[in-house]
């Protein structure tokens, strides 16, 4: 039995589990989305995409991901290489940098609300510096850019640590000898990073990116806490359809749209960062 059946035995628990708690409910959701009461149709999709809020929430979701994820990737790579080169105090620094790992999106939204609300710390600071006399409402429909910035900052603050940990673990797996050899041949820090760290980090990079991009499309609680209805995203539309408009079919249709863009981006990331067969560290 050994080598032939062992992999199937090992993946069996996950397969059964996901079959029961992912594929089956997913089938139920898809059924709801494509069913219009009489038969199969795209009526639910037409309904949600023709709603005036849809283009805005679609655009907001994609923009947020496009701004937040590259910044997080750069930040996480920077932090991971810094931790790797650290001699003193690395335990403390790594602890501090991974703190946001434990913080929920709901809590992160509340934390940044303390800064951006009308009587919050940003207004207090500007008042202290003499820029303003009275607190102004920062998060209002008049300041769409500021809402975007607040949400993006909260997301970058909260979710960079997830990538950091994956990248630190990945960098740790790169043999030291490669760097020593590079030093012997006179490669500087930057060249070592480009020629050794980045290529050998590809498996960790693709894992980190896939997780992060998909989570970025699912952004919800941070947006609810900071922007509320002022900054509609796809997930908040799903939520509104389900609980406020009590339209489960429309909610399922939006969910399938989120699924579509998530799959598309996952495929792109996996293709771009594919590790050639047979190549190992």
């Amino acid at each position: 039995m050994q080598a032939r059946y062992l992999p199937y035995v090992l993946i069996a628990p996950v397969s059964v589990f996901l079959g029961l708690f992912f594929l089956y409910p997913f089938y139920l959701v898809a059924q709801t989305a494509f069913y219009d009461g009489a038969g199969w149709s795209l009526k639910n999709f037409q309904e949600v995409t023709s709603y005036w809020k849809f283009p805005i929430s679609f655009k907001n979701t994609l923009w947020l991901a496009a701004v937040v994820v590259p910044i997080q990737l750069a930040l996480a790579l920077l932090m991971a290489t810094m931790v790797n080169a650290m001699k003193k105090g690395r335990d403390l620094v790594l602890y501090i940098w991974t703190i946001p790992l434990g913080i929920s999106d709901l809590a992160a939204g509340i934390i940044w609300l303390a800064i951006f609300e009308q009587s919050g710390f940003l207004n207090s600071m500007m008042h202290g510096l003499g820029f303003i006399d009275r607190p102004t409402a920062l998060i209002s429909y008049q300041n769409p850019t500021l809402i975007f910035v607040a949400i993006a900052l909260a997301e970058i603050w909260r979710a960079t640590a997830i990538m950091l940990v994956i990248l630190v673990a990945g960098i740790g797996l790169i043999p030291r000898e490669y760097y020593e050899a590079a030093q012997v041949f006179g490669a500087g820090r930057w060249k070592q990073f480009l020629r050794i760290t980045l290529p050998l980090l590809r498996p960790s990079l693709s894992t980190a990116l896939v997780l992060r991009v998909i989570l970025a499309f699912e952004v919800f609680a941070v947006v609810q806490a900071l922007g509320g209805t002022l900054f509609p995203v796809l997930m908040s539309e799903t939520y509104a359809y389900q609980f406020e408009l009590l339209n489960g079919s429309a909610a399922a249709a939006v969910a399938l749209i989120i699924l579509g863009i998530s799959i598309a981006s996952t495929i792109v990331i996996l293709r771009v960062l594919r590790v050639p067969k047979g190549a190992t560290i």
Partner: protein
């Protein structure tokens, strides 16, 4: 190596200052917003709603006391801990073997399985709680710790598989093969050679599982009624509440997470220690 270290002194020193400043700034970036939340939480409700703000807490516990006296708080906390611990255990037990299989074997359907795992993450999973709520009522799992932990494990298990896959891939197959020639079978080779190397990483992915469950709001709010978890409880009561209650709620969500990350920090660092082997 010695040749390189004889490079000019000055740029190197400047580099070190830039490096130290960057580390400091990044630490401040993480800690600053947290500090401001603590200031707000440890101030009286009047101070929280006043303007301009002070940057030093008054160590007034009125906001917190008010919050803790909300009926059901402690029960919700205990529910959250139970659900998160169950999720952690189940997702590692179910996920790690699959991560090992993906990294070690070429088998038919491997790519399909890998895509399936990734697709799991590509769906707004909390939404699956809605059909599951109906299913759970039929099977008697509704409003139970175990039922919610099952859903949270569905959220956490793809992470566990992907992370353990990437970790196992980093351990050379040759190490295991060497153990086999020295009289180990697959299982003993795994326990004696691979497991010690991988344990810190496993712990790290267990942290993910715990934290995913601890922080999850949507499914928890849908699937529990009497046995609410902390996040669901907070969401339910924060919607219409005043600023000082929101901040106290955020604080109470954050503190256990801080303690938890602190408690397992050694394993995170041990994971880092792999680099020095």
């Amino acid at each position: 190596m010695t040749m390189v270290s004889s490079a000019p002194r000055d740029p190197r020193r400047t580099g070190r200052y830039v490096y130290a400043t960057a580390v400091f700034l990044l630490c401040a970036w993480v800690l600053g917003p947290l500090y401001l939340l603590f200031v707000n939480t440890l101030s009286s409700p009047e101070a929280v709603n006043s303007f301009p703000k002070t940057y030093v807490p008054e160590f007034n516990f009125e906001s917190i006391e008010f919050f803790m006296e909300f009926a059901g708080m402690t029960g919700a906390l205990w529910n959250s801990i139970q659900v998160a611990t169950l999720t952690m255990i189940m997702s590692i037990l179910v996920g790690a073997p699959a991560g090992y299989a993906l990294s070690r074997f070429e088998f038919k359907g491997k790519e399909t399985f890998r895509i399936l795992i990734l697709l799991t993450r590509a769906f707004p999973l909390p939404l699956l709680a809605l059909p599951l709520a109906v299913l759970f009522i039929r099977t008697g799992l509704d409003d139970t710790i175990f039922g919610l932990a099952l859903v949270h494990t569905t959220l956490a298990v793809p992470f566990a598989v992907l992370i353990t896959f990437s970790l196992f891939s980093g351990i050379p197959m040759e190490l295991e093969e060497a153990a086999w020639t020295l009289g180990c079978n697959r299982l003993t080779a795994f326990i004696k050679v691979v497991l010690p190397l991988i344990l810190p990483g496993i712990t790290a992915s267990a942290i993910f599982a715990f934290v995913i469950s601890w922080n999850e709001v949507f499914a928890a709010a849908v699937l529990t009624i009497e046995n609410r978890t902390l996040t669901a409880f907070l969401l339910q009561n924060l919607d219409t509440s005043a600023l000082h209650l929101k901040f106290a709620g955020g604080f109470i969500l954050v503190v256990p997470a801080l303690i938890f990350i602190f408690a397992v920090r050694k394993y995170l660092f041990a994971m880092w220690g792999i680099a020095n082997r």
